[in-house]
Amino acid sequence: MDTPSGRLVRSHCVGTTAVVYASDYLNKLTGEKIERECRRQLDCGCRALVIDFSDTKLVNSIGISILLGIIDVAEKNGARIVFSEVNLPTVELFEMLGLTRHVVLAKDESEALMNLSRLETTTPVVH
């Protein structure tokens, strides 16, 4: 749903990959919107998710819980998930809490998409 509206989550698709943009503060309100958007993209047939954190300054506990929910849903759907452009404090938080065991971190969106396309050729998604 590619929209400039602040009330909706910005996203777009590249092939079978959905890129979803997280907002500046990932809390319950924004987190649940991202979660819904990710679910929607997976339901529409996306096989991989890139969550872009370029605008995200802070992720709180609720944000962590919701991201774990997204990881769970993606895993259950056999979809890969990459977090891109995560700032250093958030990377440290993700590492400390073990989120990085379940997602790949990429420098930016293009690196994330490149990683996914490489994985696509070596490890095809099992439908």
Partner: protein, 418 residues
Amino acid sequence: MEPSKQKLIHTFGALADLGQEIAGTGDFTEMVRTSMHLLLGTLALRRGAVVECSGDGSLRCVALWGLSDQSLNGFELSDTEKHAFLSCEAVESLVKNTETTNGFLNRYRDKLGENEIELVLPMIVRGEVTGLVLLGGKASGEEFSNEDFETIRAMVRHIGVGIHTHRLLEQVEQRAEENRRLYEEMRKTYRDTIKAFAAAIDIKDKYTQGHSERVGKYSEIIAREMGWSEEEVEGIQIAGYLHDVGKLIVDRNIINAPYNIDAKLSSELNRHPSAGYEILAPIKHPYADIPLMAKYHHERLDGRGYPEGLKDEQIPIGAKIVSLADSFDAMTTDRPYRRRRSFEDVVRDLRESSGKQFDGKVVAAFAKAILKEVNGEAKERRITRMLGKGYLDGDHVSTLLTDLIADLSLEKAQKAQK
């Protein structure tokens, strides 16, 4: 940043958010969901649920994350199992701990394992298990440390208190609502009883049927025009209904005498305001001063009224309103010895009696209320309906009322100057 320091900051942030969430007065289910997210996100737990215990031992899921809606169906918690939770140590809450004597864990170990639930903690408030918190493993894949247990137990305690407080608030609100409904029903019963009573009073006087009800309605209209609160308006309406209750002890022949009665009979009839007070005073009315309004509705501003010959400021404003409503109805309804008077005549009388018999403020308010109906500005035409078709017709009615209001306003200004 050092990982331990970062973990501490992350945990403290979550605890602060949890405190705020629990202290809030928002939606109950949202509060529980948010609290559960805070708990899961603090240690990055992959799934979890908060369930409430009901009296019959069944468990109701209030919030869950990372689990299917049906995953906890059929779970129950017996009294013995509740008791076991009261004394359990954290490590005994681990689903994989087969050494535990906790009946609930032993009963549901397989089902909990299937759902990847690793930890079950009771929410204990005031020595009672009010619910359970079920938690999945850490995203890091690590075992729970003692510090993790401490954090989880502290947060679960908070959530338990939050749920308990919300439930108590709900009960209080529910009871308040029930009380409000009961109170409304009682008020309605009271009003209906009063109406029936008013009808009984009027039946005694065959020439003034409906008089008490009309006086109640006129009084209500005047009070509302004077800006009284709804509660006060209801009160004066009741006073209007009951103003002649004292007539119940007056001989029916005196009340129904088809001629002007002599001084002796008149004195007997004039006992009715005091008698009304004696009847009404022992009753605990939901509105103030009803007995006094009945007692003083025949007092006059110039002190020539009865029963006490009170003057202007000594007469309660409510009694002044009922007095005007009573006289207005007497003037505008047929009596055994005379026909009702024309509206022009009534207005003349009101003008002349203002400041002597009636309070000018009250007369002005009544005139304004009638004028609003005549000009079509009132929502309902209640006065017009009570006076009957045609009584307020004609262009002169509006002029009469406008002039009366202007005169009373001028008198008021002159009085203020003096």
